[in-house]
């Protein structure tokens, strides 16, 4: 009896820890910081995504987001896979698909796990008509302090999985924009929307900094490992120690970035940023026939989404408030 109790406690904590560390470990080990940098950085190429106007790509991301949000989960799943398949047209397409696919999987696992333990019976009853829970695991009662439901059910996991396709579709399409445009191209496009320069510049610096953030985190984590973190425990626990190292790395990374952010702000302001209300551009990015085709495709996606709703494939999954 005592043994069973201890085993239950141990497994519960392992599920809890690996549930959090799993997606993080997948990003760090399977994709790697280098891989993550690859799918968040621009590389020049000539295929259609690179020739499309960035503005149209922003609209494309918004279209995917709307379609995935207002329709049934499997339309979101189809959109995720379809967008991922277009990665094949990018520079080093096969590798981009591999990395993007792994990232989508880690997003799906992370989101599903993020929702599943918290999904209430009331929510699941709406999501699954005639709801009969299949109990997979019973948590120790004190897990409710963290907001956990008493039991983990198959339906809760499926529910989390369904929700995750919305996130995965949006992230996959947003990455397309980042991988096929330079920050200044996006700056030019957003400027045409009359979005304030300060907001655009923040986005631009963010885009430039994303790869750096992961570089710094990677370095800090590696230094902790080098200094012996986790070396006195089994390799089985490496994901947990990677998570611990990742959390510890956040403060020095942020401080390091903030020190750099000041330089970026000074560099921009001392070069006339916001000197005049209007800004000129040395290279205008035109709207071409290709962009009209792309807009047509987006119209088609929205049309499919609307028809799906009328056919009863609308937003059947409630969101957890």
């Amino acid at each position: 009896m005592e043994m069973n109790y201890l085993l239950n406690e141990l497994i519960s904590w392992l599920i809890f820890l690996f549930g959090i560390a799993g997606p993080f470990y997948l990003i760090l080990r399977a994709i790697g910081i280098r891989g993550f940098k690859e799918i968040t950085s621009y590389e020049p190429h000539t295929t259609f995504f690179y020739r499309m106007n960035p503005l149209v790509k922003i609209v494309f991301s918004m279209t995917v987001m709307i379609a995935a949000t207002i329709t049934i989960w499997w339309i979101g799943a189809i959109l995720t896979f379809a967008v991922l398949l277009t990665y094949l047209s990018l520079r080093n397409g096969g590798r981009k698909l591999y990395l993007g696919g792994l990232f989508a999987i880690s997003t799906i696992i992370g989101t599903a796990w993020g929702y599943a333990p918290f999904a209430t019976s009331a929510t699941l009853s709406i999501a699954f008509p005639g709801y009969h829970p299949t109990i997979l695991w019973t948590w120790p009662s004190y897990f409710s302090v963290m907001g956990y439901e008493p039991q983990l059910t198959l339906q809760a996991l499926l529910y989390g999985l369904q929700i995750s396709f919305r996130t995965a579709a949006i992230i996959s399409s947003a990455l397309l924009l980042v991988m096929t445009n330079t920050p200044s191209q996006i700056l030019r496009s957003l400027h045409k929307f009359n979005i304030p320069d300060s907001i655009i510049f923040t986005l631009m610096v963010g885009m430039k900094s994303i790869p750096d953030i992961f570089g710094y985190l990677d370095e800090s984590i590696k230094i902790q490992m080098m200094r012996g973190l986790g070396s006195s425990h089994s390799r089985l626990f490496k994901p947990v120690y990677m998570l611990i190292a990742g959390v510890s790395a956040i403060v020095p990374t942020i401080i390091h970035l903030l020190r750099g952010a000041k330089d970026i702000a000074i560099s921009a302001d001392t070069r006339g940023f916001r000197a005049t209300k209007k800004r000129s551009y040395v290279d205008e990015i035109p709207i071409t026939r290709l962009d009209y085709y792309a807009l047509g495709m987006m119209g088609f996606i929205i049309a499919v989404a609307v028809i799906s709703i009328f056919l009863g494939f609308g937003r059947t999954i409630p969101y957890v408030a």
């Binding site: 280098r34 200094r227 000197a275 000129s280 551009y281």
Partner: protein, 532 residues
């Protein structure tokens, strides 16, 4: 006409009791080139930030007095407006470049000023020609070396055609060739516009400036023509400023020439040449390795060498030669998906084939250039105990106490390491690395951006540790530091070991690998360049 005029300027950062800069009166004539120097934290950068408007417009604090640019007060103008007159090049090239392509970066300022497209194109061409970066057209800024990025950043500043150019430690983070190019630009620009250059490398900048201004504890303590420097050399040394050895010697001998050959000849006649440096060798290898790295992008490194016990080995070479890659391969920092890595290590009876970080970290310490990234603990004391705590190693207390004492960290023991000054943080990072019980310590560019005093302190600390049996492998561009403290140099070029030997041996032919011998070496050995 006065390009810059400062009257009764005082500035105090928020939370600081003492003004960081206090200047009753200071002026710069149009077309003058001025070197502003002083030790780290002396107020040099604060002074130039008061001139380019960063203070008071971006950095907050309590400010009184005024700075005038061609008669117009800085406080009455916005920074973007000031930037039409004052161009500023910052220390770290990678942090100031925002755009993806070289031309985009140069066009950034003219675009901000809403200039017509044709004019922007003209500005791009003019700036590229002025800095001599025709070979970088169309390139991606992320693929450039530090020196190349710094020149692109300079071209981007010049595209505004500023009447005043401020260069705030522009060569701190770049290799000697990049440094030479920046100084070449200074030579060509001298007299064409007003230039203020903040630098620690007094020796290299002197030929290109008219005046030298020394800032210490927020005040201008010396403002004179460069010719006067020889009379003030020792006073400047006391202020923590790196003065070339031959100038000190000239001062000591009472001669009024900066010419190194002339100083050397006189010193030779008077038997006053500096002593030969003692280099340690023949103690047996503490670590030997044969490193092979093949990156997916194509860069290859192949380097086979060994390091002696209780010595300091400097790894030198151009940016991108493979120096940092070598260190990272040794410690196991390179991911398998990035490159194929073979870096077997022999350390006496220990053989490490697997590049596993946790295993290698037990025997080798690594201090990265961004050492802040390793400071994860809330107090200095916890940071120093980190390795022994996570490795569950007993008996480390005496070593930690010894290191706390050596690096004068006792008084900061309870403080958060990230709140300390740069020099203190570097000492915490170094102490914490050694406190793991390692005997071989690798350091990636520890001299980068450091002033003379910090470098001297670092040199003294590693020399002391060397005497206690520690071995150091240090990647650096600083030839003077290497000449003063290293026992051996490895020159890496295009991923290969190009030269290996004592500083005296290597400096004979190092220029072809972008390494300029320091004046201290030239003063001792002259142009004869013979190994004695």
């Amino acid at each position: 006409m006065k390009a810059i005029e400062i009257k009764d300027l005082k500035f105090r950062y928020l939370g600081s009791k003492k003004p960081s800069i206090s200047v009753p009166y200071f002026y710069v004539e149009e077309g003058e080139s001025i070197l502003i120097t002083g030790k780290s934290g002396s107020g040099k950068s604060t002074l130039v930030q008061c001139i380019n408007g960063i203070i008071p417009h971006i950095v907050n604090g309590k400010r009184s007095g005024e700075v005038y640019l061609f008669g117009e007060p800085v406080s009455g103008q916005r920074v973007p407006e000031i930037s039409r007159i004052v161009g500023t090049l910052l220390q770290d090239p990678e942090r100031q470049v925002i755009n993806y392509k070289v031309e985009e970066e140069i066009a950034f300022a003219p675009e901000n000023f809403n200039l017509p497209r044709e004019e922007i194109l003209e500005k791009i061409e003019e700036s590229i020609r002025a800095v001599g970066i025709e070979n970088l057209r169309g390139k991606e800024t992320s693929h450039l070396s530090g020196g190349e990025i710094q020149r692109v950043a300079l071209a981007a500043v010049l595209s505004m055609d500023p009447r005043i150019l401020i260069l705030d430690e522009p060569t701190s983070n770049i290799d000697p060739e990049g440094t030479r190019d920046i100084f070449q630009f200074l030579r060509e620009e001298k007299g064409k516009r007003t230039i203020l250059i903040v630098e620690h490398k007094v020796e290299r900048v002197l030929p290109f400036v008219d005046r030298i201004v020394v800032v210490d504890e927020g005040e201008i303590v010396l403002d004179g023509r460069t010719d006067d420097l020889i009379n003030e050399a020792h006073a400047l040394m006391e202020l923590g400023i790196e003065i070339p050895r031959h100038i000190l010697l000239a001062n000591q001998m009472g001669i009024t020439s900066y010419d190194i050959d002339e100083v050397r000849e006189t010193a030779k006649q008077r038997n006053m040449l500096p002593e030969k440096k003692v280099r340690i060798h023949g103690r047996g290898a503490v670590l030997s390795t044969d490193v092979k790295v093949e990156y997916r992008e194509g860069f290859r490194l192949r380097l086979s060498t060994s390091f002696e016990e209780g010595t300091i080995t400097a790894v030198m070479g151009r940016n991108g030669a493979g120096k940092s890659t070598f260190l990272k391969a040794l410690i196991g920092f390179i991911d398998k998906d990035q490159a194929l890595v073979e870096s077997p290590i022999n350390m006496g009876e220990l053989f490490l084939a697997n590049p596993d970080l946790q295993t290698r970290g037990k025997y080798i310490g690594y201090l990265p250039q961004s050492f802040d990234l390793m400071l994860i603990n809330k107090t200095v004391e916890r940071e120093m105990h980190y390795s022994s705590r996570v490795r569950k190693a007993n008996g480390m207390e005496p070593l930690i106490k010894e290191l706390m004492n050596l690096f004068t960290l006792d008084k900061f023991a309870r403080e958060d390491p990230l709140t300390l000054s740069q020099g203190q943080r570097r000492r915490v990072a170094m102490g914490a690395t050694i406190a793991g019980g390692v005997k071989v310590i690798m350091m990636d560019e520890p001299t980068s951006g450091q002033d003379y005093m910090h470098k001297e302190n670092l040199g003294r600390e590693i020399t002391e540790l060397k005497k206690r049996g520690y071995s150091f492998i240090i990647v650096t561009h600083d030839a003077r530091f290497v000449y003063r403290f290293a026992d051996k140099i490895l020159v890496v070029d295009k991923g290969r070991l190009a030269m290996e030997g004592t500083p005296e041996e290597v400096f004979q032919n190092s220029e072809k690998f972008g390494i300029v011998p320091p004046s201290e070496y030239l003063l001792r050995y002259g142009n004869e360049l013979l190994v004695e």
